[in-house]
């Protein structure tokens, strides 16, 4: 019996060690996933660079096609600031199509709020951010496209 135990023990030991290694590796992976933060948008490469009015036209022409193309992607939008709007303790920047009142609105990443606060109506600017897609507003009766985690593209 003790002879059998001696023969089995190296295998049991190996299985236990392998299990422990897997457990620790799994815990590390879970820890990394759940402590991960979004990277700084200014350091992220944009998948598309567009002009604000062309971009809005795409959404107004075919909302679902434009959403498939741009939603949850990092996009650089070049355009003119038409409005700055206080949002809680932060500020949002808007680019509006004066003909249809459709607009793009940019909410900034915490570390880029100071840059956003410097912008004034009429400024030409390049903004990079994560596109959250466009929807038709029943309140405004127009299309609007939202961005989150934005940064001024320098």
């Amino acid at each position: 019996m003790s002879e059998q135990k001696r023969k089995r023990s190296p295998w049991i030991k190996r299985i236990l060690i392998s299990g422990l290694v897997l457990l620790v590796a799994g815990a590390v992976v879970i820890y990394l996933i759940f402590t991960q933060k979004f990277s700084d948008t200014s350091a992220t490469k944009a998948e598309f660079t567009v002009s604000a009015m062309d971009f809005l036209n795409e959404f107004q022409k075919n909302d679902s096609l434009a959403n498939k193309k741009y939603t949850e992607k990092i996009i650089t939008v070049n355009g003119r600031v038409t409005e700055t709007e206080a949002a809680d303790t932060t500020i949002n920047i808007k680019m509006t199509d004066s003909t249809t009142a459709a607009y793009i609105i940019f909410a900034f990443q915490q570390q880029h709020l100071a840059e956003a606060k410097q912008l004034k109506v009429g400024d030409s600017v390049s903004i990079k951010g994560s596109c959250s897609g466009g929807v038709h507003s029943d309140i405004l009766e127009t299309e609007f496209v939202t961005f989150k985690r934005c940064a001024i593209n320098k």
């Binding site: 996933i33 759940f34 402590t35 991960q36 949850e72 949002a87 959250s132 929807v135 309140i139 939202t146």
Partner: protein, 182 residues
């Protein structure tokens, strides 16, 4: 001819009056806090919410794009938008449409802080339920600032992800809505 001019004048006056009483912002904020003792991650906010308030009728409305909710953690944002949670591809917006029921107690023409009761329909995840909540309304010159917080039962809106059952997401998250109308 005189009748037509009178009608036109009345219509213009009515439209100007309507425009003056309805205020709109496109930067209202909705915060969502579903944290539990087991998980501090499920909370986020959307600062690009469209909101309106009509000081004459007491009408209040909000429209929030679900994908605009921003989270600190990428995985949490992915879970929030997934089919098991908000299913934002299928239900892209969350909306509220209601009224201030004690409009006589809120003096929009006089600076001050007022307590309002708002009742209306909240639509989340394609499900519409009646909601009644208290709201604070601060009038300062031409600026009206509104804030309200309330809890919703996720199960009422058909949101039943496995993380909720496991206690990692609150079954009744706190929602905070704030808007500044100028």
């Amino acid at each position: 001819m005189k009748k037509s001019i009178l009608f036109l004048a009345l219509a213009t006056a009515a439209s100007v009056s309507f425009a003056q009483t309805k205020k709109i912002t496109t930067s209202a904020t909705v915060s969502f806090d579903a944290t539990t003792k087991l998980d501090a991650l499920p909370k986020g906010d959307n600062k690009t919410v469209v909101a309106s308030i009509d000081t004459k009728t007491g009408g209040v409305a909000f429209e929030s794009t679900v994908k605009s909710f921003s989270f600190a953690n990428p995985k949490m944002q992915e879970h929030f938008n997934s089919a098991g949670w908000m299913d934002s591809d299928k239900f892209p917006t969350a909306t509220f449409k209601g009224k201030i029921t004690n409009l006589a107690d809120v003096k929009f023409s006089t600076d001050g802080t007022y307590s309002a009761t708002v009742t209306g329909d909240l639509t989340i995840h394609g499900v519409t339920k009646p909601v009644t909540t208290k709201a604070s309304i601060v009038v300062s010159g031409k600026t009206i600032t509104t804030t309200s917080d309330f809890a919703i039962a996720l199960a009422d809106y058909g949101v039943n992800g496995p993380a909720i059952g496991a206690g990692k997401v609150s079954t009744d998250p706190k929602i905070t809505v704030s808007a500044e109308f100028k």
